[in-house]
Symmetry: C2
Subunit: 427 residues, 2 copies
């Protein structure tokens, strides 16, 4: 089929009619499908069920230092959990603090702490006239909503195939002392699945920020979430790179097992320099007597070590890889050559990023919704929910069953075609 | 034996010599005992071990609305957990939000939220010149340290046998719009074990605060933690009382299962009016995708209902009651009539509060430490760690074994005697 842009008015009208008929038929099926959130499927959760058995009433519930994990104490994590999440984060256990069930909460608390108490003795951000963050776009909606919640001004930085546009990052961070942070999902990024190139990571580590309390918020959410074991992306470890570059305190690195074990019942961690960890601990010791050590123990006894984590992630990959491939195959077969959209082919993570023709994304999502498919709200992948070109749609293929996903993708494709034809006809 | 104050110089010197000999003998034993923190003992933790078995790999892990508790979702708690902690808090489930493992964290986040975002649309506290809190004393050290952490000025309010001095509370709260909160542990208070009288609760509910965003922080930490089932204290339910008094939004009520199931691995909740809960939810939905629903399910399946909780607390009481009685019996037998100290005889909770002669508490703790007994740092039960009269010592009898507790109490008593004699000799 020829590209839509090459079609004349008559051809477009004929196509529109045909697509509308197809759409009416689909709509009449009254489907209810969801491609909106990066949630594991039930089948993925099933592979972690063994975790429910590792601790029982006859288990020794002491950690390796002899502390009874059932009682208060050990505020920053039992040693074996620090080792496990340290291995997952590629840093030494002593650079790790274990938190509760969510790395998102650690990030939120970190922003809250920087606002109320400042970074390593610097002026609390809430006392400054203005605070700004750089936001590589498209990016993770929850990063942006929490940043907005604290009244921090967000500046879009385009994502390139190598990661954020580092020319722009270097210029802005180097010039503006009000820029205090940047959000990064450096591996299998949300939503594009991009892994930052070696050069990008090295340039991050060598930033010369105008603000002494500038921090990179390195949300390594998908560090071991490969789709292809034999063809995985590699990411330079940022803490070590920052140290080598003479910027040991410039980064906070976050991780969690939310999409490894059970979302909501996992364990999360931050890795940072000792000076930064001191900031975290000072806040933490006011906020809690300690996190759930039994759940830390449960994770360590189940996964044992990094090999155990990798073996487990391979099972996840075996379940979700066909879903990614199904969506991408359908997109290629049905949209290839039409020049009405492009999409990423990630090697890991939880999302496929779709870019429509300019000004079509909202219309596509509205069409999909009409036919019973929920997509991530258009705009959510940008600060303030505003996609300036109205093109980006995040596709989350993991949660639906294969059958649901297949139907949802067909409807998505139909919606893309329809919205594109309408756009071209309106021009 | 006659009261120390009635002894002459010669008698005191003879007594001192005798006590010093005793002390030297005790010290030479090189003991290491801890009466400092309100931690359950291993025997208490053992009674909850069944909780480790209620969920296993063949358990249905859906909550009653059919939601898979293994996955993301249900931000404010599964219905059955709201019902269980609602019953424990004596409020309807819809007035409850379930959090993670710690009510202390809810309180901390609440203060942080009031500082950064304000209360129900009012000016964020961080934007005000000054914020003040009333602190009934003696009280819970962690309340005070977190309040200080946020730069809030603390004003001491004396505790009476009926609860805080309400004349003072009414006057201050009614006059000063900078007073935004008061800390209350209304039942079996920390450290005195006092339960607020009906009149006190009614006067709380009828406060006429100068500040529209004044809130009572009602930390009902020991609501079902009785020592004597047949002789328990009763506390008027504050949310209902505030509603009846036309002040439905004036209180935040906190609870947790930390000293019911496992400290650090329990579940916690806040109860408040719908308008207040909206504030909590607006913050919460930025901070997390949801708390640990599997642990919520674990608690509900283990305790089932309020009767189950009460039956369980009875087992706790059977273990800790003899410890309280041992300490109190030893205090009575050895310090009774000496007029060098007084102590509370709580019917629940986790502490006994001891008041020495003025200016002796630090010396007592120093002596105890010298002989191998760690007490709660003197002053910790007051804001800024400053006990103006240097009299209050919090005794935590639950954690040590009966044998350890017996030895520790003997050493404590000896330390009280020695410090008192020294004080009298120095006058």
């Amino acid at each position: 089929m020829k590209p839509y842009v090459k079609m004349n008015q008559e051809e477009l009208l004929a196509l529109q009619k045909e697509l509308e008929q197809e759409f009416t038929a689909v709509k009449s099926r009254g489907l209810s499908l969801d491609m909106s959130r990066g949630k594991p499927s039930a089948a993925q959760l099933d592979i972690s069920m063994g975790m429910m058995d590792v601790l029982n009433s006859s288990t020794d519930l002491k950690c390796e230092t002899g502390v009874d994990c059932r009682n208060y104490g050990v505020i920053d994590g039992i040693p074996e959990a620090k080792r496990l999440l340290g291995a997952m984060s590629e840093v030494d256990p002593e650079k790790i603090i274990i938190y509760g069930n969510s790395s998102l909460s650690i990030m939120f608390d970190t922003i809250a702490r920087c606002m109320s108490h400042g970074v390593m003795g610097h002026t609390p951000w809430s006392k400054l006239e203005k605070v700004k963050f750089l936001c590589p776009v498209p990016g993770y909606d929850r990063h942006f909503t929490m940043t907005e919640f604290f009244g921090i001004e967000m500046i879009n930085v385009p994502m390139l195939p190598t990661g954020p546009d580092m020319d722009m990052v270097e210029k802005l961070v180097g010039e503006d002392p009000l820029i205090k942070g940047i959000w990064c999902v450096p591996k299998y990024s949300n939503p594009q699945g991009i892994t930052y190139s070696d050069e990008t990571v090295r340039r991050f580590a060598r930033l010369k920020p105008a603000a002494k309390d500038f921090r990179i918020f390195w949300d390594n959410a998908y560090s071991i979430h490969h789709l292809y074991e034999e063809d995985q992306d590699f990411l330079i470890e940022i803490l070590g790179e920052c140290e080598r570059a003479g910027n040991p305190d410039m980064v906070y690195k976050f991780t969690s097992t939310s999409k490894v074990s059970f979302p909501g019942s996992g364990i999360a961690a931050v890795a940072a320099s000792e000076a930064n960890l001191e900031d975290f601990r000072n806040y933490m010791k006011m906020q809690t007597i300690g996190h759930d050590k039994l759940n830390q123990l449960r994770h360590v006894r189940f996964f044992k070590d990094l090999d155990g984590l990798h073996a487990h992630m391979k099972k996840h990959a075996d379940i979700i890889r066909p879903k990614f491939e199904l969506v991408i195959r359908k997109l290629e077969e049905n949209l290839g050559g039409l020049e009405i959209g492009s999409w990423t082919k990630p090697k890991g993570g939880y999302f496929i990023s779709f870019d429509s023709m300019e000004g079509c994304a909202k219309a596509i999502a509205a069409r999909a919704k009409e036919a019973g498919v929920v997509l991530t709200p258009v705009g959510a992948t940008f600060p303030y929910g505003r996609d300036p070109k109205d093109t980006n749609i995040r596709i989350a293929p993991t949660f639906p069953t294969d059958e649901e996903l297949s139907m949802a993708t067909d409807i998505f494709i139909l919606s893309v075609k329809l919205a594109s034809v309408e756009k071209l006809l309106a021009q």
